[in-house]
Structures are given as structure tokens and as C-alpha cells.
Symmetry: C2
Subunit: 340 residues, 2 copies
């Protein structure tokens, strides 16, 4: 009898003990979820606070600033906002590498500008070729193949090409704090779009893997496509003709064309993003506009009003005037790249 | 003591009873979910069976035909596939109503073709005005306002305009079996897109409410947009210039531009959808191509090879040759419209 009671007691004790452990584990998970920092690579301060405050207000059902999930559209520039754009736009490296890869099939390029300049890394001659020369190089390297062939060319290039300063694949040279921000927004019910001046078909092959952004949420510049039959199979040929430039005042146009809703949050880093931020700011309800200011010459680059790449001048003035959030990369980012 | 035991017994009895009820309710829900017909307005037969078989194979993880959710892209034509297109494309009714609404501001239209023809319902004179006349009417009614103003014009029109045969709002004249198909596909992890020759900004204001398809999943024809400042606020002006025609060989182009993935299922009803179905069929893995054949003159309309609206000729031959699914509206659809 005593024995039995003791067993019962022990059994009950075990049960209570097990229950207590389970409750503690549960509380632990809850606490971790509630307290975990969604932006660990951002230093504490007004920038991080502004982001977290905006997300909290837009997602808290009891907040007067609450926004239903379907309307939580956030648009991100790519070059200089999600990945680096120095010492040259990465699509520029791709383009020059393509000229070099295609050169054996074009012996005449050895003597023909603007290709000669690319083959000889003659930046002065390249600059002299101007916009017309640039367009010629662009169309030669980006048109004349099917969309599937171009996708493979981009993927093959990314698999081997290296950033000249960091000696790593270009898709490694992305900003860790911005990756965290993308994830944080998506976990808060936002849909994250890229709205970039870069070529849409240059970005789509890798944005899902690198940023978690699928092809249908990438808006960019494009050349015209044409349906053709090749051995009885339909293919889309890339034509040497500009279709759409998704930069500057083209960004609100691209947003309307491709998304059909006005973003409630927009993220950029240069004057080419100004109109996207203005368009976002002009909507009703809570809004968030952010510019990444490149202030860290040591870990990345420092440039703004005088830069030919990613110039930040008018947009910086407007941000200051209107109280938009400006990231001071040096001060606000604990870590710049994932590989640090 | 007896009283207490009885109470305990009753209490236990109640608990067991309550538990049994809960289990029965649970089983009921499970059974209903497993056995419920997702397509109640489709008659049993090879068409319905082909749809259900395709969805089962694409979504069953143990199937060799399994497709991950992100790649389950389904594209739908709109006119004649999701809603009716007789006796005239509904956007045509909108256009003519706009001419009439704008006429008081344009007294000269009383004597000026092609507007005179519209105001007098003179179809012969209208036909004589040809494509040029049509373009003039289109641009007069669809351009010259902001995107927000145009959205309001479309919504206001839909709120009052009635279909001439069914005497109901045009957004009621949609196909109940196709509404069920859209829901069934989405509940099976598909993303459903509209890919229509109709104007994208004519569709986006109502597709979410009527079809459950949000603005960002609507691909259509478009005119050019231009960012302008109006009283210090950015607006997008609709310009009288064609940007993109999303019909025929334009549909695969539109799919590539806007979605950036090839669909695994495509639904249409006319020769204008042929290339979309061919493009879909040309991909790897499981595929589903379907044409709605309008065979029911009593409940809707019967037309195909000779029709000037929604002509179904080449696509019907190709469907028969390649074994695509063809809906015989009269035979396959138990119900055509939700209001029946």
C-alpha cells in the first residue's frame, strides 16, 4: 500500500515536473519570439527605431495606422540599396565580360570602337564612345538570343565572375542589414518587390535565391521580346530595342504597370529613386521612405552628391526636408556584408 | 456521498459525451473536406475529370508529376473565358458609354465621325470608321486623365451599367464554373493570373472582388503612362499612345514581362489565346491547356469559327490535334452564371 502510494506520488511528481518543463520551454519560445531582434546587423538608434516603429504600427490591428496585408507593398531599388554598385554597376561588369567572351567570334572588334575599348580596358576611349557606344555594347551583349539562353548566360557568369575588390561572387556582395530588413518585412506580412533600373532579366535568375524575391516580384528595365517558332517550338527572342527604362520618373510608371498598387514603403539610395519615394509618400495612410547613404569608405564606399554612379543629391535634400529616414551606413550598420 | 458520486459520474458522463460530440464534429469536417466537390457547377465527364486529375498529380507530393507551389502558375484569358464577351466586348460598352457621357463637353461630335456614329448607335458608320476610328475613340475615352481618375471612372460605370441581355451589372455576367475553377486552383496552391487582351487598368479595379485576383496578378493591354506633378503631388497621366497589346503572340511576351515564369496551366477561348497555350504546352513537366467552347445558344451564346468576336478556329484545330481539353459549355456546365 505504501509502495503503491509512493509510486503514485512519484508518477504524479514526474507528471508535474514534465508539465513544468513543458511550460518553461513554451515560455522560452514565446519570449524568444517576442524579444528576438529581427535586425541584428542594425545598430540601435533612430534609424532602426523608425523602421521597427513603422512595421509595428502598420501590422498592429489595434493601431490607427494598421494596413491590411494585401496592401503592405514595399519596393526596393537594387543597385546600391540591396547590393553594392561600386566601382561600377555589376551589370556593367557582366556586359564587359560578355564582350570579351564574344570577341573570338568577332575578330573585327579588335579594331572597332566601342568594342576595342572594352577589350583593351580603355576607359577613356569607352567614355568617348558616349551613350551611343554604350547602347551598341548593351544591345550586342543583351539581345539576339532567347530569354532562356540569356538566363543561362547570366547564371553561368554569376557562377564564375568575382567582384574586383572583395574577390567574391557578385551575389555575395549584398548588404546583410538589407537582407534582414527584407525578411523582417515579409515575416510582417509585407510583399517585397525590387524596382530597379537594372535589366529585369539580368536580375530574375538569382533574386529568389539571394533575396527571397521571386521573378514575378522583380520590376526592372527591359528590351523588347518577340515570339518566334524555332523547330516547331515557341521561343521568345530578345530584340535590340529598348522597351522600358525603370529609373527616375520611370519607377512610379513601372510600379503602376507591374504592381498596380502604390507601395506604402520604398527603399532607395540615389536620385534615381527620388520619384519612387515621392510616389510612395503621396499615398494615404502610414508611409515609410528610406535612403541608404553610402558613408563608409572603409568597409564599403563613401559617395553621394558628386558620384557618377548612384548620385545622391536632390533625393538627400528632399529626405532632409521631408523627414525621410536616411541610413548612415557607417553608423547604422553593425555589419555591411554577410561574409564579414 | 452517493450524491457526490452521482455528480462525479454525471460530470464524467458529460465530459465523455462532449468529447464524443467533438470527435464526431471533427470527423464530419474531415469527411466534408475530403469528399466535397470543388467544382459543383461542372457536370461529371472527361472535362471535369481531366481538370481534377491534373490538379491531383501536380499537388500530390508522391506523384512523379508533382510541381512545387511557387511554380504552379495558371493564366486565364478574361473575355469569353472568365466573363461573357457577347454581344460585344464589355470594354466596348464602357467605351461607347464614355463617348455618350463626354458628348455634352464636345458639341462638335454631333457632326464628327466616328463619334457621331457612336452617339447615333450607327454600327454601319462605326464599322466604316475602321481601325483608325476605333483607335480615336479608344484614346479619347481612355487617355488624358490620371490613373486614379480612370479607376474611378471604371468603378462608377460598373456600378450603374447593365448587360443588355441579362439586365445585370457586367461583373455579374461571369462564369460560375470558372469562378469555382479559380478557387479550386488557388486552394491547391496555384497562383491565378489574368492574361487578357483587355486594358489592364480597365480590369484591375474589380478583378479582386469578382475573381479573387489582386491587381498585381492582372496582365493586360496598356497605354503609356507619364509621371507629372500636379499641385506639388505626383500623378500618373494616361497618354494617348499604345504601350503594349497583350493578345495573340503578345500573350507569351506579357507573361514573360510581368510574371517571368512559364505557366503550367493556361485557359482561353479564342485564337487570341493560341500562343499562350502553345507557350504553356512547350514547357517541361505536367501541363494543362483548356479552351472554353461557346456551344450554348440558349443559356449564353454559340459561336466559334465564323465569329468576329472571340473567333475560335485555329486554336480549336490545334486543341483537337494535341489533345488539349475543350469545354463544351452546353454539355460540361451545369450552371453558366451565378445568378441562374
Amino acid at each position: 500500500m505504501i509502495d503503491k502510494s509512493l509510486r503514485t506520488l512519484l508518477w504524479r511528481g514526474n507528471k508535474y515536473f514534465a508539465t513544468c518543463i513543458l511550460i518553461l520551454i513554451g515560455l522560452g519560445i514565446l519570449a524568444r519570439t517576442a524579444l528576438a531582434d529581427p535586425l541584428p546587423s542594425w545598430n540601435d538608434g533612430p534609424t532602426k527605431q523608425a523602421i521597427v516603429e513603422f512595421v509595428r504600427a502598420a501590422t498592429d490591428k489595434s493601431s490607427p495606422q494598421y494596413v491590411p496585408p494585401a496592401e503592405r507593398i514595399a519596393t526596393f531599388d537594387n543597385d546600391g540599396t540591396l547590393w553594392c554598385e561600386q566601382p561600377m554597376y555589376f551589370q556593367g561588369f557582366f556586359t564587359f565580360d560578355r564582350v570579351k567572351a564574344l570577341a573570338p567570334q568577332h575578330p573585327e572588334w579588335k579594331e572597332k570602337q566601342p568594342f576595342k575599348a572594352v577589350l583593351e580596358n580603355d576607359l577613356k576611349a569607352l567614355a568617348a564612345a558616349g551613350e551611343k557606344g554604350g547602347a551598341e555594347i548593351l544591345m550586342t551583349t543583351h539581345a539576339g538570343m532567347t530569354t532562356e539562353e540569356f538566363e543561362k548566360i547570366v547564371k553561368d557568369w554569376l557562377a564564375t565572375a568575382k567582384h574586383p575588390r572583395f574577390k567574391r561572387p557578385f551575389t555575395d556582395v549584398v548588404y546583410q542589414p538589407m537582407l534582414e530588413l527584407l525578411t523582417y518585412l515579409r515575416e510582417s506580412g509585407f510583399t517585397t518587390y525590387i524596382v530597379s533600373g537594372g535589366g529585369v532579366e539580368f536580375m530574375r535568375p538569382w533574386t529568389e535565391k539571394v533575396y527571397g524575391i521571386p521573378p514575378e516580384q522583380v520590376v526592372g528595365s527591359s528590351i523588347k521580346l518577340k515570339l518566334e517558332m524555332r523547330e516547331g517550338k515557341p521561343v521568345l527572342m530578345r530584340l535590340p530595342e529598348i522597351d522600358f527604362i525603370d529609373d527616375g520618373s520611370g519607377k512610379p510608371v513601372g510600379i503602376q504597370k507591374f504592381i498596380g498598387r502604390r507601395p506604402i514603403a520604398a527603399f532607395g539610395n540615389s536620385d534615381g529613386d527620388l520619384q519612387m519615394l515621392q510616389w510612395t509618400a503621396a499615398g494615404e495612410g502610414p508611409r515609410f521612405m528610406l535612403l541608404v547613404h553610402h558613408t563608409d569608405a572603409e568597409r564599403e564606399w563613401a559617395y553621394d552628391r558628386q558620384s557618377s554612379i548612384g548620385r545622391l543629391d536632390k533625393a538627400l535634400d528632399e529626405a532632409q526636408r521631408r523627414g525621410w529616414t536616411v541610413v548612415d551606413m557607417k553608423k547604422d550598420w553593425k555589419k555591411v556584408f554577410p561574409f564579414e
